[in-house]
Amino acid sequence: MGLNVSEIKKDFPVLGQTVHDGRRIVYLDSANTSQKPQSVIDAMGRYYETINANVHRGTYKIAEEATNAMEGARGRVATFLGANSSRELVFTKNATESINLVANTWGRSNLNEGDAVVLTMMEHHATIVPWHMVAAEKGIELRWIPLTADGQLDLTDIDRLVDGAKLVSFTAMSNVLGTINPVERLTEIARSAGAMSLVDGSQHVPHLATNVAELGADFFVFTGHKMLGPTGIGGLWAQEETLDAMPPFLGGGEMILNVTTEGFTTTEIPWKFEAGTPPIAEIVGLGAAVDYLTAVGMDEIRQHEVELTGYALRTLHDRFGDDLTIHGPAEPASRGGVMSIQFKDIHPHDLTQIMDQNGVCLRAGHHCAKPLMKALGANATARASLYLYNDEADIDALGDALEASGEFFDF
């Protein structure tokens, strides 16, 4: 049973909008941020309209309800991720903050001069820069897992790369190539080498059923706005022992047990890492997002995206042949619905500008992965990325927009 995309589309108000004199929005930028269903928007509005109050402190009715709404959402998100308990789930602003949290707490207290952290050549800057910052302070070494020609991790030399390393930090799915990495295999390799692992699930959680307990990572991060949730909310998952052993991140209210003029003690996890008033409405919205995804079904979403990616690769190749390069694995089953394209010699900025005129929304640029772009020999690509609300008509519109761009820049 495929997804009923025409019904799903109706749940997303932005997809019903038009731009440039009545053209429907063809949204192909979900790897950047996803659209939000009405149920998420309503859940946040309802929170503000009915139970808005600060959490974990008020003794009155709506304060209790606000706390319950927030912690209830934590429980549902934890379940969605396959966590054993909601104590394993720390809310952060986004994946970037989650990785910075790990780098600043676990990293700064466990890494010393000469230690190695292993990254891959397909990482988002969110995974690269925090470790560069620790390297600048602590003098750690960064090692890089290279890529094969079709955009997979090249693990030929992996034993040497992880030898003596303290951490392997990598993405579960590339936001540029769509490559789905062998997460379980890599976390196992890290563990055998005595290293911790940090998995960036930003592109995985929205599109594939995720079970952190099975993936075997020590740290797992994700971001809410790519999985139908609002901006400003993301998370870090780790086992309780791991979180307990880490020093706190930001200091302030919510994260303390006691404060005196001499010092402070931290409260229990996960709140120990959640200083200050949390983004309550956003957490409630994220809870509504996982409810929506669960109702549709993650396996159904994945199957839909494999089929649609296959359709895109096939039809675009038929239409444009060698004029069009699509980076990454050729086989739809080993990739997500992320397609970085190069078309003729047209610069991605010019390409996406013409596409916009057709209502087609694509991102152009380096996609926050400059080392990868360099390895691809490009400064920039245009990227089309799919989600549950896209259908074959959207792919056909992409093809038509490509054709229009080709005509415009035909010289």
Binding site: H347, P348, D350, Q357, A364, K370, N379
Partner: protein, 156 residues
Amino acid sequence: MGLEDLYREIILDHYRSPRNRGELPPPAHRVEGFNPLCGDEVVLTIEVDDEGMVKDLKIGGQGCSISQSSASMMTAAIKGKSAAEAREFIEAFKTMMSIHSKELGDDEHGELDQIDPDLDLGDLEALKGVVQYPVRIKCATLGWNTLTQALDELSA
């Protein structure tokens, strides 16, 4: 607002056949400019003589039609001018580019009427349409910011 306002014929012409393309050999001064948004890079090489005259300048690197054509027009406009005149040109161009960002509350580049009304931007006027596309302003100004940096370094 149609695409023709953004991609004027003169812009496409400079994109197809960029002027002063390449790199001058040392001892020409060399500066790299980056557009952090899209990853485009320009390499500007420039020779300024003892009288402060821009004897020659070239543009290398990669970029979209807007950044490439803007840089190409810039080299044509600046070559043979004094460094002081070049700075006036830069100021005039960036003011033209800031009309829209000013409306958005960015007051960085001063008032339009402060620039010399006699200063003729020539072909560069064709880039006016870019201000309607705020994200592309960074493309149009990439070469110019790099030139400013080069002139600053040379006079330091």
